[in-house]
């Protein structure tokens, strides 16, 4: 027990003196949690090494930290030096809300391809690691992270997985994440190493091969018999569920206990299908490489709780001013220096739409917004819907191909919905119109596509398949 007090005192002193979390102290806490698991079989705890302040204190911290971050960004990055000078913004006044709201929002388009302009030029003697974000956009963006950030993120990731009971020391973890998302993959492996869990990189391979991996009996001492945790994208797990059903698998063929999902929208229907097929828990998280160390977890109430050390804003799509509670807007994040130190960003928006909410009663703490509603899409906005509501509706219709492939486009002021279905018939058309009607979408032209017909739709990460010789042979390509 003294050990925990010692690590917490170390963290407190380090935060006061340097503003950083000491990775070694967090690693120590991870060891304590692992020990707790072996001693008490404790599977989760509400203990956290970071404080969870009330709204007023959080606001004070945010004001102080964003000023500090902006000062460093102004002094050390090319982009913000030019931008803040051009906009005539006084960095010493950025603790004032009015002045801070004058800082132009940095959009993904401002950042993509110009990452070096955002790099802290004073970090000369630190290792900087460039990581691609594994995004569906082109060119993929990425960020430069320092050695400290990597050490901290690995330790904090391990602590977070373990404290929330997502990865435990007796687990075997299958990582099915795009191989280009190097930091994400590396952090998961490092987290598993610290926790003592076994893991393997399965990648985004053909679902048939992935299911074989999941059903394989592995005799690893001290671990479960089969892979017990999947870390992946919702669309990829959805494709596993579809392929698994087609191939006659059932929950008994696997040992999956938890699925951790990142990177895409998870609808209620998809979550239910995954839970039913694998007979397991599904955890939804929000991670975006550009925003690290800020990450979010979806609580049982369905809201998104963000970890600290960053200012979370929900801003209007046009004026970029903070919206009122209950309104939708762009998620806008300022990760705080010095936890974030390699690539500095002020008021960065990855383009995700969320609803600002007053708070959440689930007790999870942290800054909170609604769950992600989807990427900003002018067509969807025009018809008063968002990507999540469209997905929820369309996935309810029978015979819609899963994972959902669809896109709503404007064709001469008329909405056209392209959607992939498993068979073309009147029943499916009626069912889709019925669901669209519930959303208030009328006079929509429907274009049905079969699974093997390529068409332009909202990208699914499961489509970034990594080929193996086995896959090519199976498809007759080798």
């Amino acid at each position: 027990m003294l050990e925990v007090s010692f690590y917490m005192a170390w963290i407190a002193v380090s935060r006061i003196l340097t503003g950083k979390y000491p990775p070694r102290a967090i690693n120590g806490l991870v060891k304590v949690l692992v020990d707790d698991f072996h001693t008490f079989k404790r599977r989760k705890t509400n203990f956290s090494f970071a404080i969870s302040p009330d709204e007023e204190t959080q606001s004070t911290i945010n004001r102080h930290m964003r000023k500090r971050t902006a000062k460093v960004a102004f002094e050390t990055t090319v982009f913000y030096h030019d931008l803040l000078k051009r906009e005539n913004i006084d960095v010493n006044k950025l603790d004032e809300d009015e002045e801070f709201s004058k800082v132009p929002v940095t959009k993904a388009a401002d950042f993509r391809g110009k990452e070096e302009k955002f790099v802290n030029q004073k970090l000369k003697n630190h290792l900087l690691f460039f990581t691609s974000t594994g995004t569906t956009a082109y060119p993929p963006s990425g960020i430069w992270v320092s050695k400290y950030e990597m050490d901290f993120l690995a330790a904090a990731g391990a602590f977070s997985y373990l404290a929330q009971g997502m990865i435990l020391p007796d687990d075997i973890v299958q990582i099915s994440i795009c191989s280009r998302a190097a930091l994400s993959n590396w952090l998961t492996i490092e987290a598993c190493r610290r926790i003592g869990a076994a893991c393997y990189l399965s990648g985004l391979v053909d679902p048939v091969e992935s299911l074989l991996d999941l059903s394989k009996i592995r005799k690893i001492p001290g671990k479960k018999e089969k892979a017990s945790v999947i870390i992946s994208y919702p669309s990829y797990v959805e494709s596993l569920v579809r392929t698994g059903k087609e191939q006659g698998y059932s929950a008994e063929d696997f040992g999956v206990e938890r699925i951790i999902l990142v990177g895409e929208i998870l609808t209620k229907n998809a979550k239910k299908r995954m839970e039913d097929f694998f007979n397991c828990e599904v955890h939804e998280t929000y991670n975006c490489s550009e925003l690290i160390p800020i990450a979010g977890v979806v609580c049982p109430e369905g809201n998104l709780h963000f970890s600290g050390d960053g200012q979370i804003e929900v801003v209007d799509l046009e004026t970029f001013e903070e919206v009122a509670p209950g309104e939708e807007g762009l998620l806008c994040v300022t990760p705080f220096y010095p936890i974030r130190q390699g690539t500095l960003l002020l008021r960065y928006t990855p383009g995700d739409i969320v609803k600002k909410i007053d708070g959440c009663d689930c007790g999870l703490g942290g800054q909170v917004t609604s769950n992600i509603c989807g990427k900003y899409d002018p067509v969807l906005m025009k018809y008063g819907i968002n990507r999540r509501s469209l997905m929820e509706a369309l996935e309810s219709a029978p015979e819609v191909f899963l994972p959902l492939r669809a896109s709503l486009v404007d064709d001469e002021d008329k909405a056209v919905l392209h959607i992939c279905v498993s068979a073309k018939n009147d029943n499916i058309v009626d069912a889709i119109y019925h669901e669209l009607g519930k959303l208030g979408l009328k006079d929509v032209e429907l274009v049905l596509h079969l699974p093997d017909e390529p068409f332009s739709h909202y990208p699914n990460r499961c489509e970034m398949l990594e080929y193996t010789y086995h896959h090519l042979r199976r498809k007759g390509l080798l």
Binding site: M1, L2, E3, V4, V32, D35, D36, T39, F40, T45
Partner: protein, 254 residues
């Protein structure tokens, strides 16, 4: 007669620990367990604390003991009584009564309840057998050196004579130090949890016999030693080590 009552209170404490451990699940902290770092800290405190007592004025020592036993009693009552106010009142009542109007055996009752609560708290909080062995050996060496080769414990006993709350079960001129009672209690509860109740019961009987033999030795064979302090810890730790060794061999065989 005093020796028999002291022995009886010693035995009641150990049986009480077993019963308490059987029926009570203590409230664990959300993270961490009692481990070797805590053991080293306890050993360090055991080394420093008595020396501090020699230097401190009597009223400060009383205050220190009052707070120490009050927190011990609080942890012992916490799993049994839900209302914190009632616990506070009960603890304050016991401690203040002993300070303002000392009653016969009340100090012993305070020590016994504290020992029962603390020993079960420590073992249920994850104290492992090898860490307990470290604590036992460490404390035994300290007790042997301080008790046999220095007049320190006698001086300390003299200083604590006039203090209303003392860390010992005291009956007449017989006293068993709270640390020794706690050590046996830890051994008994640990054996019950990590091995089985039969081994714990066997050790309990053996430890009572050891203490009885030492009392007999001090009364009959070497009454001259009675005025001084006798190091008890090594004599109760050696049987425990034998039991632990026996349990390990049995485990390996099975």
């Amino acid at each position: 007669m005093n020796s028999l009552i002291a022995l009886g209170l010693f035995a009641v404490t150990q049986v009480g620990s077993i019963i308490y451990d059987r029926f009570v699940k203590v409230e664990l902290p959300p993270v961490g367990r009692v481990n070797w770092i805590d053991v080293l800290f306890i050993l360090a405190m055991l080394n420093v604390f008595p020396f501090l007592l020699l230097v401190l004025p009597s009223y400060l020592i009383l205050l220190l003991f009052a707070f120490s036993f009050a927190s011990g009693l609080y942890y012992a009552f916490r799993p049994l009584i839900r209302q914190r106010v009632i616990i506070f009142l009960l603890v304050a009542g016991l401690i203040l009564t002993q300070i303002l109007n000392p009653m016969k055996y009340l100090n012993d009752v305070i020590v016994m309840i504290t020992v029962v609560g603390i020993s079960v708290l420590y073992v249920q909080s994850g104290l492992r057998m090898n860490e307990l062995v470290l604590l036992g050996i460490g404390y035994s060496i300290y007790d042997l050196i301080i008790g046999m080769f220095t007049p320190f414990l006698s001086q300390l006993t003299l200083k604590l004579t006039n203090i209303q709350i003392a860390p010992a079960i005291i009956v007449g001129n017989f006293a068993i130090g709270a640390a020794d009672v706690l050590l046996v209690s830890l051994y008994v509860v640990a054996l019950k949890q990590k091995a089985n109740i039969r081994l714990a019961a066997a050790y309990l009987i053996l430890s009572i016999l050891v203490v009885a033999f030492i009392f007999f030795y001090l009364l009959v064979v070497a009454p001259s030693l009675l005025a001084n302090s006798f190091p008890l810890a090594p004599w109760i730790t050696i049987p425990f080590l034998i039991f632990v060794g026996f349990q390990k061999i049995n485990k390996r065989r099975s």
